[in-house]
Amino acid sequence: MQFNSSMPWWSYLLMGAGLLAFIALVAQSIWRHRGVHRSLFASPYTLWMIVFTVLPVVLIAYYAFTDSAGGFTLDNFRAFWDSNHLMREQLRSAAGDEVAATVVRGSVNIDTLVYSLWMAFLCTAICLLLGYPAALFMADRQMKLGATIVVLFIIPMWMNFLLRTIAWMSLLEDTGLINQLLEAMGLGKRQLLYNQGAVLLGMIYNFLPFMVFPIYTSLSKLDPRLSEAAADLGCNSWRTLYKVIMPLSIPGVISGITMVFMPSVTTFFIPRVLGGGHTQMFGDLIEAKFLTEGNWNVGSALSLVMMLLILISLSILRKADPNGEGGGIA
């Protein structure tokens, strides 16, 4: 079965309608049955998730623990620890033990991982520093900003993320707008693009709204009488913020940290465009393993390591917010 773009657009709609009708049919037959328990309503979803989420993860695990011939191996994880491992093994047969012995341990994967974690940490911290006051002021009832300000924060997210990043490139270029301004002010040109700062800027730009929304949601749910009460009891506004508001906004902060940290660890594309390919992040590495090198086994092992790391950091974060009440964007 092959679908390609030679089909006119209406055939897409037709297929979609077919798919939808099929699901509706299933759904309908569920609730036609009078005695059926409502928990069965979740069965199409359960089935869907098993096929499209659980099974794929199992496949990643399968590839991570097998070699190209399909036999069980731990080599892919050894290759994660020692990025030269596979090359050394290959050289042993192609060029002899002597040559293979000159190959030292490669730290490409570990270094990239550490670098990605560090960049993600920086990005999350800066987003928190910038985003918390923003959320606080947005939720401030005295400012009378209402829903408009929230909408203003959402709109930029509707621009394609690739294009937003490219727009930064044209701002930061040697001949770009910022440098032209600097020159006009007599400050001279500066190399703004193709360094770590530019990558970080691109990440913060793309992820900042994900920090602001959850914090805003949890702050705007707070009862304004709480801070009034604190003021009545003699707290100044700083003390109220520190002792009353901040502790109560922790769930939002946790949720924001999660939503920024996770995508930033696996960022790809941004380092290539704004960083000039000087550094790569773990996402770039995984992509290269699958698409450039076609080595699915090592690529799967890297993905698995990535997932594990995120699960661990999430469970640590969840400890700080046991009820999981942090509001998402919704």
Partner: protein
């Protein structure tokens, strides 16, 4: 005084958020091809845009996938939320773990794992696989938006309806669904937005023969992007802005 400072701070953040977008829109009117040189105002990138079949095809793919994925995931997700809500504690916890799983998976892993699935089952990647992938990452968000509304609802309303002689179907359509309508709408909007903006998952789950806007732009970036894409994003921006204003107006009138 502090109020002014607060406003200035928010203003600066907004400038930060909008500056690149303003640049894109201005560049879309640049007569020349290079980003570096301003060669006068022109609309020819907009004309080129509508004559570019690759972009127009990709636009169709993007919009139709987003729409279909939203519809399907809203139906499946709402049903699932109702189902999960009525489950006992243990299976409910299991389902919630399953629902949270995609949220804790980085996009790139989601995309790659689905790619492996399609290759493993020898399904040609293309429009349908991209649609399936979008439904997969949209549905949990619908569930997460609908569930809180169900939790807020009085547990006994549904049973009361049954006691009063309503069939389960009637109770579902006239009691449960209306109660969580707001959650369903939020979930659908969220699904649509996510689907529209997705690059990573689409990139791994489609073939080069079926491109959506994101994957098309991605291949274009490797070669130096022309202002035709700026024109495209400026147009999309304006359309979405108008849409949003219309929705906002309506909700205010209500």
């Amino acid at each position: 005084m502090t109020k002014v400072l607060k406003r200035i701070y928010l203003g600066l953040i907004l400038i930060f958020l909008y500056m690149p977008i303003a640049v894109l829109i201005v560049q879309s009117f640049n007569a020349g091809k290079s980003r570096a040189k301003w060669e006068g105002v022109s609309l020819h990138w907009y004309i080129d845009l509508f004559n570019n079949t690759a972009i127009m095809n990709a636009l169709w793919v993007t919009l139709s996938v987003a729409l279909l994925a939203t519809i399907v995931s809203t139906v499946i997700g709402t049903l699932a939320a109702i189902g999960i809500h009525s489950m006992r504690k243990r299976p409910q916890a299991m389902m919630m773990t399953l629902t949270n799983l995609p949220n804790t998976m980085p996009d790139i892993v989601t995309g790659i794992s689905l790619m492996l699935l399609f290759i493993f089952t020898q399904v040609d990647r293309g429009y349908v696989t991209m649609l399936l992938a979008h439904i997969t990452f949209d549905t949990p968000y619908v569930i997460l938006s609908v569930l809180p509304k169900l939790k807020q609802m009085n547990k006994h309303t549904y049973e009361a309806a049954l006691d009063l002689g309503a069939t389960p179907r009637y109770a579902l359509l006239h009691v449960l669904i209306p109660e969580c309508k707001q959650g369903i709408v939020t979930g659908a909007l969220l699904a649509f937005t996510l689907s529209l903006d997705d690059f990573t998952v689409s990139y791994f789950t489609t073939s080069p023969l079926v491109q959506n806007l994101s994957t098309l732009i991605y291949s274009a970036t490797k070669l130096g992007i022309t202002p035709i894409y700026y024109a495209l994003s400026a147009l999309m921006f304006v359309v979405l802005l108008l849409l949003l204003l219309a929705v906002n107006r309506r909700t205010q009138e209500n």
